[in-house]
Symmetry: C2
């Protein structure tokens, strides 16, 4: 039985979508997991009461009196709010009571808390937020999507390694193709750190590095190499592109409202709008930490929470943490500094 | 009479779209300009022959035997190919024979050539590529869109100043709103240079700085401040987002081909697909150089070239270069280093 803890107080509308998502997961996903909802018991139970007939045999509630808000400073919040739902949930994971933790709350606090309380695998200097960008045939993993800015070349190379493990072991891509996001494809493109990373990536025997790519090659197949599986970039760049992508649904809605209002409600358009609705997607894995930590979007719907739970269960079932530990410990970086 | 030079050999399919765009501009735009096509005379004349009835009184051809290719190294190409269409065109501008230059060729070479041959205004350390991102009501200017990576905080502040001048004097926005692209809105977000830039921008008396913005606030109105007019960022970030945006048309086409193929040809969808077709847009102004230099997309269609010509004419008519010179010379940066 895989045991998943869910921060019930994390998201923008918590605990409603968290509880509804938990209920949905218990009903719809294969029954190989049990859930721990962490939060203010009264609030969580009040939400649970709105979903009669829930199977409580695979669901428990662990009380946490406090909540870390979206505006709390990450490290300070983790240290000063030991009774927050996030920290209580992380400690359940740290002590082995659960196998995975999910939070739709303060991303920085989830990152800091996971790093401090779960720890990092040997060979990993910084955990990375890996964001699966939807594409028509699946997803492409962008690492880092906002956790780390001012990255060194060694850190960027580690993002490539971590992303490769995830796409291979979790998503099932035999040899994931890795691209380095840059302003052009030639060796001499980009600033000092990106150029150095490009040279280091070429020397990694266990990474299928296709070279520098441009912004147009993230969600559309590269003309020579086809669709990439892992995009490596500094968190400033990855976060900008991620949030820009998230705004496309609103942009399309605004444009069609102005130009083709009749089309907005048409059923032929629904697949596109659903595809562009980021609130339906199931969270970003935090790579490099000991264990399984998933960061869900603050605006996550119930079905996004359900999808995040599925992602956590699969990550545990396929041994993501053990595989990452083995891979990162085993191989020194040639040419690293 | 405003005199515009057009590098006829620049784009991916040159000189076809360049010549067709020049012809279109002469026919469709107000007749307050004359054009100089720079390139191999035989090739340009052969293309012109396909457009009978062109008004040659406002069109001349200046011969340039050589061409700078997309793969040439920018500075070396400018130095070693004095007879290239780009360098000949830039020299026409430098010597005062024309008032503006447009090229759809090698962006790095156009940037380097403009910087070396036209020079920069006092107070400007690096020219910036300002990319107008289309939005349903007009455009938002992203500076820098790929010319400069590893920017200093002073350079980023200058991008804000240059972008403000352009949006005010060229586009007619009375007090352009400027946002700094970051991973979050709080003061402490981002790396060292971005944090420093944020503090410097707050002290600029002549910039309407609304603060840090995120990727979702570029083409969709900010929830508090409304639509921004100028987005300031390092060229690595701006280029990634620009090219990602350019790939949205292909992404939507791929998704609909799979999910709603009937919709693809529907006339209701045409406004969206036209909006997402970057090859129709009219080029990015190079800000900070003495004169008017416009970088058009390598894939520019004839109508994109026409639009770039209009942008050049308006830039000259409204005194962009003089206004920039006055603004950048007049005001020292408080707190700059």
């Amino acid at each position: 039985m895989i045991r998943v803890a869910l921060d019930a107080m994390g998201g923008d509308s918590a605990p409603g979508p968290e509880v509804a998502g938990a209920v949905m997961a218990l009903r719809e996903l294969p029954p190989d997991f049990e859930l721990t909802l962490v939060g203010r018991t009264a609030d969580v139970e009040a939400e649970l009461a709105r979903h009669p007939g829930v199977d409580r045999s695979r669901l428990r509630v662990v009380d946490a009196a406090d909540v870390i808000s979206m505006t709390d400073k990450p490290i300070a919040a983790v240290r000063k709010k030991p009774n927050s739902s996030l920290v209580v949930g992380l400690n359940l994971h740290r002590t082995g009571e659960v196998d995975a933790i999910i939070s739709a709350g303060n991303t920085g606090a989830t990152l800091a808390g996971s790093t401090i309380l779960l720890g990092l695998h040997d060979g990993v200097d910084r955990a990375a937020v890996a964001s699966p960008f939807p594409i028509p045939d699946g997803s492409v993993l962008v690492v880092d999507a906002g956790a780390n800015v001012d990255c060194t070349s060694k850190e960027l190379v580690n993002f490539a390694r971590l992303g490769t493990i995830y796409m291979r072991d979790l998503v099932g891509v035999a040899e994931p193709k890795v691209g380095l996001l840059n302003v052009g494809e030639e060796d001499e493109k980009g600033g000092a750190i990106v150029r150095e990373t490009h040279q280091l990536l070429k020397q990694q025997p266990r990474i299928r590095y296709i070279g520098n790519i441009e912004g147009r090659d993230i969600v559309v197949p590269h003309p020579t190499h086809g669709q990439v599986d892992v995009v490596v970039c500094d968190g400033l760049v990855g976060n900008a592109v991620l949030k820009f992508y998230e705004s496309m649904g609103a942009l399309v809605t605004r444009l069609l409202t102005k130009e083709s209002p009749d089309l907005l409600g048409a059923k032929e358009l629904a697949p596109l709008m659903r595809f562009l609705d980021y609130s339906e997607y199931g969270g970003a894995p935090l790579l490099g930490v000991r264990g399984v930590s998933i960061i869900a979007h603050g605006a996550s719907t119930a079905s996004a929470i359900k999808n995040a739970i599925r992602r956590a269960v699969v990550s545990v079932a396929r041994g993501l943490s053990d595989h990452t530990a083995a891979e990162m410990a085993q191989h020194e970086l040639p040419g690293s500094m």
